[in-house]
Amino acid sequence: MATIGTPVKTSASGRGSRPGKAPRARRSRRGSRLWVKIVVTLLLVVEIYPMIWMFLTSLKSNDDYLNHSTWSLPTTWEWGNYTEAWTTGHIGLYVQNSLLAVVPALALMLLLGTAAGFALQVMVWKGRGLTLLIFLAGMMVPPQMILLPLFTVYFQTGLSGTLWPLILTYTGTGLPLTVFMMATYYRTVPRELFEAATIDGAGILRAFWTISVPLVRNALLTVGLVQFFFIWNDLLIALTFTNNQDLRTVQVGLLNFTGDFGATQYGPLFAAVCLNVFGTLLIYLFLNQKVMKGLTAGAVKG
């Protein structure tokens, strides 16, 4: 620590004592500032322009899209493309399906995952390390490894043709990360808190529900957000288990979008993509810090 501490002092005094070096440093800093500006501008263009282009194109008529330059503004602003996508393109139905699959899966996953995280981190018993490892193994294995047996089971139990295969599969595949992240959050809660609660006469189950859950409320929101994006954006599982057009989720619907019209209707197609993007954008606008923290935390811990 001492070796690190000394140079700081030198640097503080050193700044004033070397006036001869200052102009050169300033010049190079101005040069680098220009360079940084160019890089940042390029970055902004690369990030934002595709979205603007997509939005403008979603307001073009087919004729406008096919016959005018790709850079031009719409000649007429066809807001009707959005209603077209929502009704004729069935995006409304697909959003409803997605919600009906995602919300129950999220609720189940969070409930089961939090309880398991509590049991694995707060409770004291032999074999909890191994159990956590078993959950972790699930994050390594590619989902392709479980699709075919699940398909067989869902088919034979008559669950295909409903949204249940999606709800169950999302819950199961999301559990490893949920359990792991919740267990990590419980590590920050002192065990004595629950011991004290049980002295006061609360059972441990009640302590879990009334004391621990409110304490990790924030973590629940973070994990919930992360899992929401994972499930909402999933294509593989949705594609495997929705063999019926009426059950398509947003992503599967979008992938097959052109099929619902005779010829490709570009305006409504872009409108559908925009609706999908703006939905996520809306959530991201309000909760971006939480989303960023949650997603990167999941990566470091995973």
Partner: protein
């Protein structure tokens, strides 16, 4: 006191449901899928055992070779791209933008949460040549280069694909690595500067070694994702042209659901799992050695 926290009935009640669902949805199917590898057939027609025929087929199948090669090539290129682009962005955030970087950070992160299918369709139209000349080709035309049919050859389709996945996730790795860079104490950087280390030398000798742990965990996380790539490819090229951009994941999906060969599909899924485990093992080994040396 541990008597209360060791209450077996409570543990069973709390852990049981999660463990049950996890076992039924993930553990049992994994073993079951292993069993399918020794059969041929599908759910509707039934399964018949065929010994190790699927395994010898995997070894000889040129489509598997191509898909495996594509998977490895894609994982190597995109992982390198994601981590390098992310690291450069993180350096930009920490050393040039400093406090002002929050907005840029948030903005560049945004594509991470975008639905892959939406991004795939967007890039498809962005790079297309017909029926409408997309922005990229119009730009090429504007500087006097003929339009390129990006999705007409496997080579160029691969690069659009790699570019798309790097575009999508560089903001994510930037934030991940940014957290690692911020943790480097200012005193260390300051004293290195006083010793005359500036610019690239500062990065190479001070910043890089100190951020190696978080760099390694990014690498492991990235390769674990890129080996399993599915959504972006289905949305952008659907494996085409021909099977030029088909990774193992997609080949397994096509074998199982287009050709209804669940037995062979399971064998390919097993190969994919083995590849994932082997690669993670190697990366873990290498990263641990690097960390102890560095």
């Amino acid at each position: 006191m541990h008597r209360v926290l060791g209450d077996r009935r409570a543990i069973a009640l709390l852990l049981g449901p999660a463990l049950l669902v996890y076992s039924l949805i993930m553990l049992v199917p994994m073993v079951w899928s292993l069993g399918y590898s020794f059969t041929e057939g599908n759910t509707i027609d039934g399964f018949t055992g065929n010994g190790v025929a699927n395994f010898s087929r995997v070894v000889d199948d040129p489509a598997v070779h191509d898909a495996l090669w594509f998977t490895l090539k894609y994982a190597a290129v995109v992982t390198a791209g994601q981590v390098i682009a992310g690291y450069l962005l993180a350096l930009l955030y920490v050393f040039f933008l400093k406090r002002a970087s929050a907005l840029i950070r948030t903005l560049v992160f945004f594509p991470v949460v975008l639905p892959t299918v939406a991004v795939g369709l967007l890039f498809q139209k962005f790079f297309q040549v017909a029926p409408q000349t997309g922005p990229v080709n119009s730009l090429l035309n504007a500087v006097g280069i003929d339009s390129i049919d990006f999705f007409g050859s496997a080579g160029s389709a691969f690069w659009v694909l790699a570019g798309m996945d790097i575009w999508r996730s560089m903001g994510f790795y930037a934030v991940l690595l940014f957290a690692g860079l911020v943790d480097i104490p200012d005193e260390v950087l300051e004293s290195a500067r006083l010793d005359g280390a500036t610019g690239l030398r500062l990065v190479r000798h001070i910043v890089l070694p100190l951020s190696l742990p978080v760099l390694m965990s990014s690498l492991i996380f990235s390769i674990n994702g890129t080996l399993k790539v599915f959504d972006s490819i289905v949305a952008l090229t659907n494996g085409g042209p021909g099977s030029g951009t088909t990774p193992l994941t997609l080949y397994m999906f096509q074998t199982s659901f287009t050709y209804s060969d669940y037995g062979y599909g399971s064998t390919i899924a097993l190969l994919l799992t083995v590849v994932c485990l082997l690669v993670s093992l190697v990366v873990h080994r290498v990263s641990r050695r690097d960390l102890t040396e560095g």
